[in-house]
Amino acid sequence: MKDILAELKKKAAEILPEVSYFICYGSGFDLLHSAPLFVKDKGDIDRLVLNRFCIHNLTSYLPPQKWPPGWLLEPGEKIGLVLKGCDSRSVIHLLAEKAILRSRVIIIGLPCWGMIDVNKLRNRIDINRINRVEQDKESIMLFTDANEVSADIKDILYDKCINCQYPNTLISDHFIGAKKEPDKGVQPFGKVLELERMSLLERSAFWDKEFARCIRCKACRNVCPVCYCQNNCLLDTRVPHWIKERVDANSNRWYHLIRAFHLAGRCTECGECARVCPMRIPINLLAMKMNSELFELFGFRSGIDVNIKPPLMTFQLEEDKL
Amino acid sequence: MITNGKKYEGPGGNPYIPMLATVTKLYSETPNIKSLHVVLDDKEQMKHVSFEPGQVAQLSLFGSGESTFVINSSPLAKEHLQFTIMKTGEVSGAFHDLSEGAKIGLRGPLGNWFPYQHMEGKNIVLIAGGLGLAPLRPFMFYLLANRHKYKNIQLIYGARSPGDLCYSQDWTIWREHDSKVKITLTIDRDVPGWEYKVGFVPTIVKEEAPSAENTIAVTCGPPIMIKFVLQELEKLGFAPEQIYTTLERRMKCGLGLCGRCNIGPKYVCIDGPVFSLAELKALPNEL
């Protein structure tokens, strides 16, 4: 990863004069967190970081509708960013929706070996006292003053990284490093299957319990790379009054159902909604379920091919499976 | 009970609870602006109603919500309180659909007012655009009732077209008031039959060129109008201390608690809505 970082810094320095910002990763508040970094000056390139904690999908910052004019881009300016394989699916989908212009984005691609879910480390070590981290492709060592813990990467990866099918950036202007082979195992829709084994009542109870915790901070919506209605979002308006201001399990369920349907055929499975949730609700499962049905009905996977029209934006007179 | 310059106590000492009131009259000022007369259901309270020119109140339409409006009837009249509402959102739209006799809620008066005592012995220029005349209306009533305390009074009032001018019956009366109030009316673009001025309000301010000498200017209207009026006034030699304006912000509680109407450390709902330009210049630039 060190070689890739060095090359990434080099590339970043090269394209920096062309772009208003280069969006990448910098260090976070501790050794187990990285954070999005917006580089404008050459001097900041040294702050770039690349490790197993660069989970953020930087595509979230791309749709211009999401941000008021003058914040990120002036008309005609370009933006540069580094994308993992999974994140690049979001860009492909935004291009398919014509929500962004390819000519305005410079993408640096790289291979990815999966990102570590800090929540899966909690039970192994006091994550507040980590003072050293050593990592390679297969394992990670964490040190505190008192003890040290090593872990097999496979056990602590984000769910979406297990058996990743898209480890390399799918669309890029510059690709750094050697491409990684996709994992052998197949686990396309993850926990959806687990939930489907429940009875109707059990599932209803499962979601009741999950949605009761939701605080409607709207982080899931705001982080979503394909949610870009900004001030015109249905979830913010009282005319028409689709959703009550009241925060309770029922109203929250409705909030997430609205989002699920607005994401139908659009979600690129980056999992950011579930990651950012401060209440640890597996929200991404709703859109994943949509995706699994769309795959079954139309063989569609979002964010793979710019030229494929998302299935709900088109039709066939004679449908194969309807 | 409504009392002069005091905090709104609210029924049971709870300032979130409105007093019940009835809409006694409702009429159109312009195609999207209506005025309504409101009378408190408690007759004792209505008898003691008292507010200062420039103060606002929160009107409730239960089921739709609550919104802030300036009280624009004469502070001296006790029969009713008048409000003027432009149809813009959920609550204002619902008010437009009311009929006479409708039950509503009222919290107020809230906020500060025009410091008329400090203006005594001076010339007053009121500059308003569109519905911006609403906060100046009670002030004008006050000035006329205390005419001897003030020198020259001028009103410059403009709107897009003659049909967009509010309170037409008032300024006819004010103009004919025997105590020399100069009324200058303007519309943005000329139409047949219009016998007054034509041009944007700031242009007319420049044209009328009220003297800054011993004068207070009070302006209210759309933000863009205010911006250019302020520029013209400064060119005419008005110091920031001589200019007052009244601000609008999105408000919810009206009590300085819900947090959205602040400009720096000042809350428009309790420290405003009336600010002198000098006060605004001392605040962070976040209009």
């Binding site: 109707l200 599932r203 209803s204 369920r253 409705w254 609205i258 349907f261 039709f315 066939q316 449908e319 | -």
Partner: protein, 134 residues
């Protein structure tokens, strides 16, 4: 279940609404369980509309439009077909019985078909019992 179930019908103005009307004018007997909302086209149906009806406690939702290929606007019902199928498949994932939702195609001349569908669907909903408002 007490009395008739509450079923919300979303009907296309051009075919199914006329079909239901025909069933009525022909005095075809049918249960009074469906409250009909008339729409210009099934393509107008945001899947959130039937979903909200179900979430807010409707016992069933019946959607009916023109037969595929016969849309007054040429293609509205073809979009709708995809959306409604997706909705139908999604419902059980959040704990709503998919048997409470049905989408069908009924033309203006099919009064009898409408009568049959309403009868059948009402029976089905009666068997499921009252929905819990969520």
């Amino acid at each position: 279940m007490q009395s008739e179930p509450r079923i919300i019908g979303f009907l296309c103005n051009w075919c199914s609404y006329a079909g239901a009307d025909m069933a009525g004018t022909s005095r075809l007997k049918q249960p009074a369980s469906v409250r009909i909302i008339r729409l210009p086209c099934t393509g107008r149906i945001n899947p959130l509309l039937p979903l909200k009806a179900l979430v807010d406690g409707a016992d069933g939702v019946l959607i009916s439009g023109c037969h595929p290929g016969d849309c007054h606007y040429r293609e509205g019902n073809l979009y709708a077909r995809r959306r409604l199928e997706l909705l139908h498949r999604f419902l059980p994932f959040v704990g709503i019985d998919p048997k409470r939702l049905r989408y069908v195609w009924v033309s203006a001349s099919e009064g009898q078909r409408w009568q049959a569908i309403v009868g059948e669907f009402t029976e089905q909903i009666k068997k499921l019992g009252t929905a819990k408002a969520q």
